[in-house]
């Protein structure tokens, strides 16, 4: 029906543009909220969630209690829910999406599903219906080999998965973390100071668990489950494995201060969980008899903590270390890696003694276009114009010819660059290049690529 017709029939119609990205984000938030029931939550885009509730139902007084809980929370969020339980993920999914008729038990419910539940391609589905096979039960009564021969191997596989004869593995949104501490509250916690206090206790519990395993955490994730069914996660990372309660709490405080959209308890949190998804070995610290660690905190530890704190505040990409990359292309010769990942030190090329620096101190990436007066085709530049100022070149060295990495390209092409180190009349040193030789390109352009000290 065209929109104009719909509006004519229902004048108070609310029209919202379709936004699949927002829908996906919302589904993800719902999935995160559902981790209160089970850690294994899988997305069934665009509008479904699959929960593996094996061994989780007793917390809610059985399956019915769990479904009531999900139903009431999601209904409060304005969602319309269709749900089903099944022995396998595929069966539960098909029951939730296609069940029309009531059935006494799960097995017969699956058999009464229409063949559309197999979600085959339109051609195969039509062929099934034309053959008089309307329900899964009709199909299951036939030999699988015949089905595969007539309707394709996909139909046979889908059928076997639906009936539970073939495995239908779940792809959970996140894998369950190795260390988890969580707390559920009878009365929702509505104040942030109280929530922070509980977070401190949870961090203490998780760290005690880590200590028993001889591990330290590199990544801590706190999830706050609101009573309305939504959840919000806050994560902090450290550059080295840690079991320092104070450090983790300082990082959490830093993270919460830096949140653009502050943590809102709403009507209160009814559950909090602290997960440690990433562990690394960390030996126990020897304590002195009179108290205090034998090895005092070194300056290296202070620096590591600074890196953690700044990375928590400005993002892990904000604090970086340099690593060398093996290439001739100047702008690709360095990698700036997050310092929190503690990249191993790489060897740098040793400069030739007695030579001036051949690479600039500051590099423009991308290079900036300049206007150059130079001899054609291979002469050095005499004068160039950059950022509305003209620079007369007094000294130059070059060209240093750097070919493109043709072996990385499919067409084995790419322009050669001729680099010149130049000094202008006021003593400033620049790195200029002509992008392309005159044989390669009719009118190659000049660029400034860097500034020397």
């Amino acid at each position: 029906m065209p929109l104009a017709d719909a509006r004519a029939r229902v004048p108070e119609l609310v029209i919202v543009p379709f936004d699949p990205v927002l829908d996906q984000a919302w589904l993800d938030r719902l999935a995160q909220g559902c981790t209160r029931y089970t850690p294994l939550v899988a997305l069934d885009a665009p509008d479904g969630l699959i929960l593996d509730i094996t061994g989780c139902t007793h917390l809610f007084d059985g399956e019915a209690g769990l479904i009531d809980d999900i139903d009431s929370r999601l209904t409060r969020l304005g969602m319309t829910l269709r749900h089903a339980l099944g022995p396998t993920a595929d069966a539960a999914r098909a029951l939730a999406r296609y069940q029309m008729l009531p059935a006494p038990d799960e097995a017969s419910a699956i058999r009464r599903l229409p063949v559309a539940a197999l979600e085959l391609e339109a051609e195969a589905a039509t062929a099934l219906v034309r053959a008089g096979l309307k329900t899964i039960g009709d199909l299951a009564a036939r030999p699988t080999a015949n089905i595969a021969a007539r309707f394709g191997a996909d139909a046979a596989t889908a059928l076997r998965r639906l009936l539970g004869d073939a495995p239908s593995p779940l792809d959970p949104r996140t894998t369950p973390p190795p260390v988890v501490a969580e707390r559920r509250f009878a009365e929702p916690v509505a104040s942030m100071p109280h929530a922070t206090q509980i977070l401190t206790e949870l961090v203490g519990e998780a760290i005690a668990d880590l200590g028993e395993r001889g591990k330290g955490g590199r990544h801590f994730r706190a999830t706050f489950f609101r009573s309305d069914g939504l959840a919000r996660s806050i994560a902090v990372e450290t550059g080295h494995p840690t079991r320092d309660n104070g450090l983790v709490m300082r990082l959490f405080a830093e993270r919460m201060d830096a949140l653009r959209d502050p943590l809102d308890p709403g009507f209160g949190f009814d559950m909090m969980r602290l997960a440690v998804p990433r562990l690394e070995p960390l030996a126990a610290t020897q304590l002195k008899l009179e108290g205090g660690a034998v090895r005092a905190a070194t300056e290296g530890a202070a620096m590591a903590e600074l890196v953690d704190r700044l990375a928590t505040r400005i993002g892990r990409g904000g604090v970086r270390k340099f690593a060398a990359a093996d290439t001739h292309i100047p702008e690709q010769a360095q990698l700036a890696l997050p310092a929190i990942d503690a990249p191993p030190p790489t060897p740098w090329p040793v400069p030739e003694p007695g030579e001036p620096p051949l690479r600039p101190f500051y590099l423009f990436d991308p290079p900036q276009v300049i206007e150059v007066i130079a001899e054609v085709p291979d002469g050095p530049p005499h004068r160039f114009r950059w950022r509305r100022a003209t620079h007369a070149i007094r000294r130059y060295e070059g060209p240093e010819r750097i070919a493109s990495e043709w072996w990385r390209r499919k067409d084995n092409a790419g322009l050669t660059r001729d680099y010149y180190r130049v000094e202008d009349d006021r003593g400033r040193r620049y790195w200029l290049f002509r992008h392309g030789l005159y044989d390669e390109k009719p009118d190659p352009r000049w660029y400034i690529h860097g500034l020397f000290a």
């Binding site: 202070a302 505040r313 970086r320 340099f322 100047p330 740098w348 101190f361 006021r426 400033r428």
Partner: protein, 262 residues
């Protein structure tokens, strides 16, 4: 009046006590960032004092690379593997260029010591700088800013300086494209690129710096220095044959190609 005079007297006593002990300003420095240039270091009692704030101005944006390289080389000259913290805003890469590690390696420094901290805005830059100077164990903390930095008023500068003094870190403020303003820095420099000593075939030579001492808390200002960076010795040197540049220029005007002048 008697009520108010009591605290006043207390304050006077405190001031007298501070004056007697010399106050926090007189705490001796734990060392110097030396340039390796004998006369330069001797003039300042060993180099630029550790645990203080030093400002490097590049009044012209084009001299930014010189000022930055001078500060970086000064810090990377120190032995050991202590990191050099370099704080800048994310838009600095577009304005003055990205810090190029192979270029630092070419100057003889170890780029692996560099810890680059890029913040979204100057406000966060100042906040991170405050944390960075309070962390002992760095070769130096370089804070690079562009243009007028109104957030860095006397109070903010004082806070940074106190943090650096308490932790014993050296703060090198890199003020690109900015005019010198009053501050609490120990020394304040204006750095300009100097013409290098030409190599064979009139090629640009080793980095050369023109330094002007604008202010020094410990003595007279106004001295000028011209230093060359000698990467093999890892030290600053006198510019060799600095007078030789002028005749070359005159000859170049006649023979614009200039290659045969050498």
């Amino acid at each position: 009046m008697r009520e108010s005079s009591q605290p006043l007297a207390g304050l006077r006593q405190r001031i007298a006590r501070l004056a007697a002990t010399g106050g926090p300003e007189s705490r001796p420095a734990e060392g110097w960032l030396a340039t390796g240039h004998g006369a330069f270091d001797a003039a300042f009692g060993g180099g630029l004092m550790v645990g203080r704030c030093h400002e490097f101005f590049a009044a012209d944006a084009l001299d930014g690379a010189s000022a930055a390289a001078f500060a970086a080389l000064l810090a990377l000259r120190t032995p050991g593997q202590t990191p050099l913290l370099w704080l800048r805003t994310v838009d600095a890469g577009r304005r003055t260029g990205h810090i190029y590690a192979p270029g630092i390696a070419e100057l003889g420094g170890d780029p692996g010591r560099l810890l680059l901290i890029e913040t979204a805005d100057p406000k966060m830059l100042l906040a991170c700088a405050n944390d960075a100077v309070r962390c002992a164990g760095s070769a130096a903390v370089i804070v690079e800013s562009w243009g007028k930095f109104p957030l860095l008023d006397l109070t903010a500068g004082r806070r940074l300086t106190l943090g650096a003094r308490d932790a014993g870190t050296t703060l090198l403020m890199l003020r690109l494209n900015a005019a010198p303003t009053p501050s609490v820095a120990e020394t304040r420099w204006n750095i300009v690129a100097a013409p290098s000593h030409a190599l064979a075939a009139d090629a640009p030579g080793a980095p050369a710096f023109d330094l002007e001492l604008l202010r020094w808390r410990g003595g007279p200002a106004g001295t000028h220095w011209r230093l060359d960076w000698d990467k093999d010795e890892q030290a600053f040197r006198d510019t060799a044959l600095s007078g030789a540049v002028l005749p070359l220029a005159a000859r170049r005007a006649i023979h614009p190609l200039g290659a045969e002048a050498a």
